[in-house]
Symmetry: C2
Subunit: 212 residues, 2 copies
Amino acid sequence: MKLSKRQESILEIVNNYGPITGERIAEMLSLTRATLRPDLAILTMSGLLDARPRVGYFHSGKSRYRVVAEKLNSVLVDSVKSVPIVVNEKSFVYDAVVTMFIEDVGTLFVVREGGLLEGVLSRKDLLKTTLGSHDIHNLPVKVVMTRMPNVVHTTPEETVWLAAKKIIEHEVDALPVVRKVPLEDGSEGLEVIGRLSKTNITRLFVELGEGY
Amino acid sequence: MKLSKRQESILEIVNNYGPITGERIAEMLSLTRATLRPDLAILTMSGLLDARPRVGYFHSGKSRYRVVAEKLNSVLVDSVKSVPIVVNEKSFVYDAVVTMFIEDVGTLFVVREGGLLEGVLSRKDLLKTTLGSHDIHNLPVKVVMTRMPNVVHTTPEETVWLAAKKIIEHEVDALPVVRKVPLEDGSEGLEVIGRLSKTNITRLFVELGEGY
């Protein structure tokens, strides 16, 4: 909600002098109480101000940016995820690097049969490996990947906000988007169905700020 | 602004049947016009609905998420930028890779005397180079970096939103934050004073959505 200049002034007064009566606010702004009524109504209805009889107006403690938080928490991973780029668990580091360049992504997911998540390979992992004196044509990706169960992941139903929090907390560039699938042995596997990266989040940030 | 259930219903009715009179909206909700008055007031004052005499209420065309766009456009690069990690223009690719690992960043800025921006090195640039049959101990960074004037950059005064848009459009991971400095020859140089990456934007996204 875009507040008017007068509403901003009211908020500032309540911030500095609250709790304060409507009469006193009107006085300070050299306006009548009647003129202020709609503004005070909108400020209380929007939850920015609280009012109590014989006390007056005071800050509700709610942020006016609650609506921003609300929106950022409403977008689901499913709506912004990208196609996952995967390599087979039996492939070699050289193949992984080539795939990374061909597909131009920063993170690869390592899968076994059925697209089941086994591990993750980042550009950093591969750079470290190529720097070493390894023969990357014969080095299995399994040796250098981050492997399950240490792979942080997300689901289509999770909010982008929660996924972004995981990315920051675990210091990774991207998360595999997975869904649980029952395995023959009765346990559960994670099928890789998408990729959520810092790029997706940056793009969402740009989209949400568009048209201002 | 968090709308009440009734306000949501009003918006929906106006969306489907607008322009529509307040009386008709009240009828459809089985409420009196008086009961609806504060809700209609808040919806029009917040800019979500417009009203015209003898026409009724209709959608203003403004998005309720304008406030989100507004907030996302209000944060400046200066408030979220990180410290820049730089290498000298005379250093070698090997030094750059080592710096990248020690500092754990994805992008390095190449500078000359005075911290003036000469180029940028990404993890992708370095991975490509280490893959080749180069002797990276003797390969100058100047050979593999993206060089000025092709380096997209930002300033402390720019909005994070605009910087994020540059990151997406130019498909880079980070931007150098620069300020113009006059050079002895009368021209202008760009002093590197910060770094804005997709990580900064993801972190901001998380912060703005916090506490919902």
